[in-house]
Amino acid sequence: MAKYLLEIRDLWVDAGEKTILKGLNISVREGESHVIFGPNGTGKSTLIGAIMGLPNIKVTKGDILFRGKSLLGILVDERARKGIGIGFQHPPAIDGIMLRKLLEIINSSQAEIKRIALALKLGRHLERDLNKGFSGGEVKACEIMQLFLQNPDLVLLDEPDSGVDIENIKVISKAIRELLQMNLPIGKRKRSAIIITHGGNILNYLDTDVGHVMIDGKLKCGADSREIFSKIKKCGYRDCYKCLSANGEKPSGGK
């Protein structure tokens, strides 16, 4: 049994023509939820894309290990079947693909589909085309719903709270809590997660373990996620740069 569910070592990644990640490290144990903060455009989504194996994201150096085995060269669908699930930041709306039909392909349990749809207030959206005309909050809820049905071991959430109003943040974060087994004490949880957040509002409702700040294509800090968030809320990312230059680089990783 590998020590970590996910282990990323010295990862260098190009997105398009640009090198975005420059020697990134992160290790995630079973049951741990990690939060990645960082200014826009620093490569948070690129990291998630590299783990999932999305197109136009190219690993040029380093490795991504899932249960001790490299994911490099493995297609997106196979990574999903290995137990990695993603909640996209900007999921597409697809004509003619009814939401219910997609959910049935992901998971054939009608009872489970119904239960999760009701919990996420998407009961009336099941017969509609995927994400077509959904509000910002509904699109995000729909991502969480699919993750529930997919039942992955590692959940990657890319900005699950962006564009979601305050009422729906409660609905979505309640579902994420259930998805990530946050009602259990740390140590008893089985499912792991990497959550990307720019604004961080969702952290008011979640009980996460480790926080990181992404700067210059690397993860820094590696401390308690709420502590980092409260500092960022107070001073913005300016102070992260200050702190880093004062203390030298502190490698990022699990506890």
Binding site: M52, V76, D77, I86, D95, G96, Q150
Partner: protein, 350 residues
């Protein structure tokens, strides 16, 4: 030519593929042409007349100016839905080329005042290098409503020419679905509709063009009367074939409205899709719009579905099926299997 099991000699199987399969209780009438003869002709409704066109031409002199010159032994149907007839079950018709290499069909379909009627018409063959010509006239009288679904399923080396003229009367409705499952070497399909006051026309087409196939579809709608409306939706999929879609709408009458949409997906680099949407406003009180989009299967959509654990071939077929399903929702349920067959083929090739 070596035939695959799916393209075997089974005539019933061939007819099934183009919608001529319902038990007789599921249709209001049937009309089957095999090569150059009428093999079946029956109406199951006293409100629906079905005759050989050759016979009715003697009586219906007015048709001559519309039909122009026709062969002495003109082949095809004359169908008339009587005034006020509400015929729920569709009339099924099929034109099959079994042995003879050329088939010329003339059909006339009349929906009298206040009638409602549906037609499912299939064209198919079981030979090498057949030539099919189909000329159709539709007269949709005042306040009548007609839906027509035409399905084409050809051998790869067939050539096909079809021309339909539609006359849509006051407050009448004409809806057409044109579905090409197996495209021939060459097909040209022309349709023109003239729409009177308050009338409405919908032309929907699904064209699947395989390699070495050259397909032209041309849809024209002339909104002549006041308040006439129209919609053209064209969905083209090239799996190596060339597709030209020409769509034209003219707003001639006052307060006319029309919208046309032509979209295409190129499954590989061998084929091409050329869309020419045209709008012409003659009356200042017309309102016409169009949108067109052609491209490959969206990588974003594909990787989104694959991220749910769906393999590439299945994800592609879901997207293509979605592309076909979107908005073309008047396809009769019993034709769903024709669409499914089409999508099934795509998933194999993906």
């Amino acid at each position: 030519m070596v035939k695959s099991p799916a393209e075997g000699n089974d005539m019933d199987g061939k007819l099934n593929l183009v919608g001529y399969d319902s038990p007789k209780t599921q249709s209001s009438g049937s009309f089957l042409v095999v090569d150059d003869g009428i093999a079946e002709m029956q109406s199951y409704s006293d409100k629906l007349e079905i005759l050989p066109l050759a016979k009715s031409l003697e009586k219906e002199q007015w048709l001559k100016e519309h039909l122009g010159p026709v062969p002495k032994k003109v082949l095809g149907f004359f169908v008339r839905a009587l005034p006020d007839a509400k015929i729920e079950k569709p009339l099924q018709a099929c034109f099959f080329m079994k042995e003879k290499k050329a088939q010329v069909i003339h059909n006339v379909f009349v929906a009298e005042k206040n009638s409602q009627v549906h037609l499912i018409s299939g064209c198919t063959d079981d030979l090498v290098e057949g030539k099919h010509t189909g000329i159709s006239l539709f007269f949709v009288r005042e306040n009548a409503s007609v839906s027509v679904t035409r399905i084409h399923h050809w051998s790869p080396d067939a050539s096909v020419f079809s021309k339909s003229s539609v006359f849509v009367g006051k407050n009448a409705v004409f809806d057409s679905n044109y579905i090409v499952i197996n495209s021939p070497k060459k097909e040209q399909a022309h349709s023109i509709a003239r729409v009177d006051d308050g009338g409405a026309v919908g032309f929907n087409s699904i064209i699947f063009s395989r390699e070495n196939s050259d397909f032209t579809i041309s849809d024209k709608i002339l909104l002549e009367g006041k308040n006439a409306r129209a919609e053209i939706i064209s969905r083209a999929i090239s799996d190596g074939g060339r597709i030209l879609t020409k769509t034209y709408m003219a707003g001639k009458g006052k307060d006319t409205r029309g919208h046309l949409e032509c979209d295409g997906i190129l499954l590989n680099e061998k084929g091409s899709i050329h869309a020419i949407p045209e709008l012409e406003a003659v009356n200042p009180k017309t309102n016409l719009s169009h949108e067109a989009g052609i491209g490959r299967i969206s990588e974003t959509e594909l990787s989104y579905l694959m991220a749910r654990g769906i393999d590439e071939a299945k994800a592609k077929s879901l997207i293509v099926k979605g592309f076909l399903d979107a908005k073309i929702n008047r396809i009769p349920p019993n034709l769903q299997k024709a669409i499914d067959e089409l999508v099934g083929k795509i998933s194999i090739q993906a």
